[in-house]
Symmetry: D2
Subunit: 451 residues, 4 copies
């Protein structure tokens, strides 16, 4: 028997490979789907079925790509939408995978036609439920994708799904959702990476409601909506093929020429970026790519990469999962090559939390920009006097930020602050100082202004 | 946060790596412990603690080896025994691993001093219980290791452990045992590789008892006791260091010379062995090594390997986990090299199930040796007229097998039959025929003699 | 600077990756061209040029596939032929690769328009000459591809190439040919895997000639011409794209159904094949695939694989390099799965050299079939009384082999004998016995009949 | 047959693995010797012999470690020294490795008892000569290790070795030295990574001498002598065992505590270091470790690492090859973790070459420190007015550098400048500015002050 969770880090995306008796199935595959073929085929399991829990919004599904390599049949949820591939699933439909059985459970709420899939063990007992974006560890799926006007309706559907279909499966049944902590598909997914109906019933804060109405009012909220979601929705109806064309290495000279018509993303850590970067480049540290590339990088202009190493594979995979097929190359030899070719380098100032504290003691409060999310403000605390604009809103609210005085930018660690600084700098801000260590560092040194 | 199950295939052994906030712990590590160091350290987690659920009998623990590489502290159960390393654990003792908490739960039954460990999630909720050999998916630990006279007493302890300590943790709590299906530490572990208290409460046949007495009568049974268990018990009290000295390649000439004082194990598939093997060699196909090497291979004489390839690493790891440090080399170039060097080759006859059926139709029943286990006979069916001796008992019951007529040997597939045939041939039996495909093939062709 | 030889084992094919200053070039790339991208791009070298020494006959070139992934320009030799891609090279043409220079040297003989490429080191000194199939270690390229009537003419060209263009480069210049020992593109390539002009001048037996005429008479010979060569020639003019669609695992039942319209190739060792194989299957041990698949496997019918393991990647690569894109799947679980499914198994008898010697002593000579090549007969010796048919001619000369008496087949080791036996068995021969160990074993035991 | 060059990058060290007929030998193995075992044993070749060309000074030999894993016999040169292991080699001694022959050729000069080894191909022809540190591509071994008073004598020996023993082997013989470009064992090894007697005879500038005296005067020079050489010499007489204990991850808190008694090395690129580093840490970018660690890192105090990632394996291997067994741990999570823990961070200022040019135009020449080697000054050009102190001499000549004014530091690229800056900063210099891009950048922008 085969049961594997394949995680796409960064996206906090979980897909699942199950198999028995030479047959296998994948639930919600990612686009770079070689991993499933290797894990299944080299164990002698042929992938026969691909199941989608819903039309995902935050990454491109690999169903069509995986089917092309394996001949598997694709089963999609959200059947009311206009799919260009696969077969629609019906509530209660069952499939045999060797001695295992998989049963579709209609699970609307996150999308109108979401499906969960219940896996029965070889003895026919309910074992694992793949809940897609309906039920997570510690949270439930967001319900604002149909628009805020339909959010209460969708939240009601989700209540019915969870309380009417999922919880009755029994406390012992394992819950395997499509996302873990860090996903943009829910606000507060917990770190309990393996969970059960029973644990969610007891500990999931969203399930501790008196009734349907309380659930609706608790969950029918607007969350960040990244501009690339629309494209993902479109692509996931059309089906996406995978191209493994890794970006090519570019000499500094080529890079400089191509950069004139391209967007340059620098995936190094914030400190390296601060010291020297290609003028006009955007800073998104590599493990931040899955969360933030979709906000700031275009799908229709060439993208150029600056990395710490000459191996762009990890960043390439991150971007491909977000639907980017426009990665034109990377700077061979990194910033050192750029510097040695004598090209101009830009810098962004940084400050340590100690120095910032001293500065405040001496000079009093200056203009402080906090780019953390609202949720973080609530859980981790605010800084008195700081101006708050979440990183994802920076481009829309730039006019709130002064150009004529130093702006100290901080987040949780300093990473997102550098992204914000690079965005502002591209638009003409010059007096930007990123706080290294961010709020975490601040708390550690017990600066006085934390509330 | 870090949570990984590390499986040692073949042994069906599960170990676990958990971590949070730069600290990690391993539960029941295996001896080739590089995997934990890589998975933890390269993620920035330092292994601080090693927890043993009990003094294992079926493999050598890697606690001492892992501690040597990491500086971790070893915590052992079964504290009444005379350990040469580590610190004894007490019921209720707790450890912090970042934001996680681990708590020891006294769990006697399989051994007198077994421990389970309950992991609380970052929010302080009971999450996962590591049950060692107390509770498996679909089975419970065997209780005959203290001798059959104490088995009822141990079974009673185990009842108290499961019903008094583990089930009360709640249906939603996940259960992570030390073994999966195929282990020698219980007779009927199921394939539900991830399970929960709730699923075991509902579906584990050993838990469907009226009372303590019924549990005792159901579980206080004698199971196969491999001769190497005694050595494992001794080594696991002393602590074992790891040596990564892979066996060296030997030319056919060297191999032939060394084979005179060594035990030769051929790990190729049964068909290849049948056609040509080093005279006197023992057939154990590679994935059968974890289960059967301990029965038939000595720890105190040189062992020589014949493989399909020149890479003996997988077989080496299997053997090292069983405490073998006496692997002297492998036949470079495999049997082809042996044949090309002009050395004598032995063969064992085989027969397909079709041919066997025809033979029976024509000649009537001959002497049929069934080497499957008693449990398989019950679940998969007996063959009328076959003589049954479990593979592990062959060496003690050879005199029951005739030398003067053809002996047809079968098992589930043909693999263990070849092991049996190679054992018998070493002792002088000559007229041996292994049934390829075994009972599985037999059923498929619907031979008439199956009952 | 970058200089790597990439060997395609089995084909005995050498390709070369050279680079300097962010630019790289590949000479005679293979079709599974990921290796070049990884070795070059991840070191920061972009592949700019692809050079072909000639239109290869024995494998599909990866020029078009590699250009698609890198944007490199393709430079082909043999410009009088009708290429669908790339640009023709002219004698004396030069390219800069960083500080390196590469210069084309017209080198006709093996093909009418072959090219060598001389690499100058960063200081401008002649360093390495890539000789394609003109000059090998210990041999020269075969000249019979244009037909035997043109062979003397081509041999004359080759003499002019070697003595007029290559040897004058100087004894110290390194020679990097397109093939090593074992290639079908010359009869006697030596094992000196790195060589120089000086070493070839001194030790290459084909260069120890008095004059052009002696060279022609020495080299204008007909060698084995595999039926797939024609297809390779055609494909290498058209350009071949790479498909990485690994064969899928098939259950025994699926395999049995598909086998009715397919060719089954069993890549296990000869002993395993002898004991049990899918009826009608062809035996070619895996490392024999590059040399013999082209003789016996069709390009236009589905091919099914039987392997020792579930990972068919190596065999897949071997076949793809020979232009096979018709590999339909592999038997998941190997022969064991087939046997356990109760399907019929075929066998081929084997005999050890000892037993054969005894047999001869007792019974006198029987019908012995020697499938080695003529060259092996000369170098390693003939067996008195044996009938010689080279493996590659078996299909054309089957009528020479008796069906009414035992035929003992041998080669160097037993591997090719099993291929021959499987070919004969498909055509109705039944009394076939393969000699395990072949001539090597025979020599080792000093059987009396060797001459 | 087996012939592989195993390069230890950074050290520019070449070792060689040769084999034939199940037997293999290694020439000058490195200490992390798993690579030889894998390459040889998994191909079925047993390593039987280990040959040393001389007692190396710049890295620890792996002879004793490799012998422990393989049982190989160790053959050492420099037999007049007091070795604790192995057997001394004599001039003309021969060994058989399958069909290959290896012959020792006395080659004094670099050390008094150096040996070369000539490999004959399977046909008995001279093929490859392993020249150790006697003859390189484009250079010869340094002769100052016995002291400058004996350098002329040693240079004379080396002349006799090269002209009397090596060149007579013939132009076609391949030359495989123990080092490539970048080694500290000669000043000007070229990039011709594969070479021959003929190429060296023609193009090696050290061989273009009229007579022995000219050779002596050309080569009897004092080169940089790193303080760790003495230790290497001692260890290579004693024999070194390998310990694979990778450094452990340390939390920021632990790191801070341990750093008080340790030397902290930061292996990130120079830009990242400049922006934020652990106060007091030394900057050596990772690929600079092999060349510079030996100058600045102690062997007798704990070493702590700061990396870009959590995988310290590459740096660990680099350091182990230099005899470091005192690596106590690495900063888990890198500088980000340090910053988030609120610890103090240090910075070093940088300047681009453009800004520096502007500065010079505006302010005239300031205090410029050039840390390149004398050889680079000669080949790449000097900067007018710059003060030159080679990086390796910084610690001895610090008093020449002013503390009361800005010191602009540059090298070829900026990397070594940052090492110099970190050394100076530890001793109290504060006004240090590293020129990013170094001389390469400078040339590219055509600043006016270059001569």
């Amino acid at each position: 028997m085969l049961f594997k969770r394949i995680q796409s880090e960064g996206l906090a995306h979980n897909s699942y490979l199950i198999g028995d008796g030479r047959e296998a199935a994948v639930i919600d595959p990612r686009i770079d789907c070689d991993v499933y073929v290797q894990e299944a085929h080299f164990e002698g399991f042929r992938i026969r079925h691909i199941f989608e829990t819903h039309r995902h919004e935050d990454f491109v599904l690999g169903s069509v790509a995986l089917a092309a390599r394996t001949g598997a049949e694709i089963w999609h949820a959200d059947s009311h939408w206009d799919y260009r591939y696969g077969t629609a699933v019906e509530d209660g439909q069952k499939w045999k995978i060797g001695r295992l059985t998989l049963e579709a459970i209609s699970s609307p709420g996150h999308t109108p036609g979401s499906m969960s899939y219940l896996l029965y063990d070889p003895d026919g007992n309910p074992w694992i439920v793949f809940t897609g974006d309906a039920l997570f560890a510690g949270d439930v799926g967001r319900v604002d994708f149909m628009g805020m006007d339909r959010a209460p309706e969708m939240a009601g559907f989700l209540y019915d799904t969870i309380f009417g279909r999922l919880l009755p499966l029994g406390d012992g049944v394992m819950v395997c959702p499509a996302h873990g902590a860090g996903s943009v598909c829910a606000s507060e997914i917990g770190e309990r990476m393996w969970t059960t109906i029973g644990l969610e019933r007891l500990y999931n804060p969203k399930l501790k409601v008196r009734d349907r109405n309380e659930f609706i009012s608790l969950t029918a909220k607007k969350l960040d909506y990244s501009p690339y979601f629309r494209l993902m929705e479109k692509l996931n109806l059309e089906g996406v093929q995978f191209s493994d064309s890794l970006p090519v290495p570019l000499s500094a000279g080529e890079f400089a020429r191509m950069a004139q018509d391209a967007v340059v993303v620098d995936t190094r850590m914030e400190a390296a970026f601060s010291a020297s970067h290609v003028p006009g480049s955007l800073s998104i540290w590599s493990s931040g790519i899955p969360n933030f590339a979709g906000w700031f990088l275009p799908h229709d202009r060439p993208i150029l990469l600056v990395n710490e190493t000459n191996n762009p594979e990890q960043v390439f995979r991150y971007l491909v999962r977000l639907g980017y097929q426009n990665i034109a190359g990377f700077l061979a030899g990194g910033m050192l090559a750029w510097q040695m070719a004598g090209y101009e380098c830009a810098t962004i100032k940084t400050i340590t939390v100690q120095a910032l504290c001293t500065l405040f003691d001496e000079q009093g409060l200056t203009w402080l920009l906090d780019v953390r999310s609202e949720a973080e403000l609530e859980s981790a605390g605010r800084i008195t006097g700081a101006h708050h604009i979440h990183l994802t809103e920076i481009e829309d609210r730039m006019e709130e930020i002064p150009k004529d005085r130093p702006v100290y930018i901080f987040c949780g660690s300093g990473l997102r602050s550098m992204t914000a600084a690079s965005l502002l700098k591209r638009k003409g801000w010059e007096n930007l100082i990123v706080v290294l260590g961010g709020l975490a560092g601040w708390k550690s040194v017990s600066c006085p202004l934390k509330t």
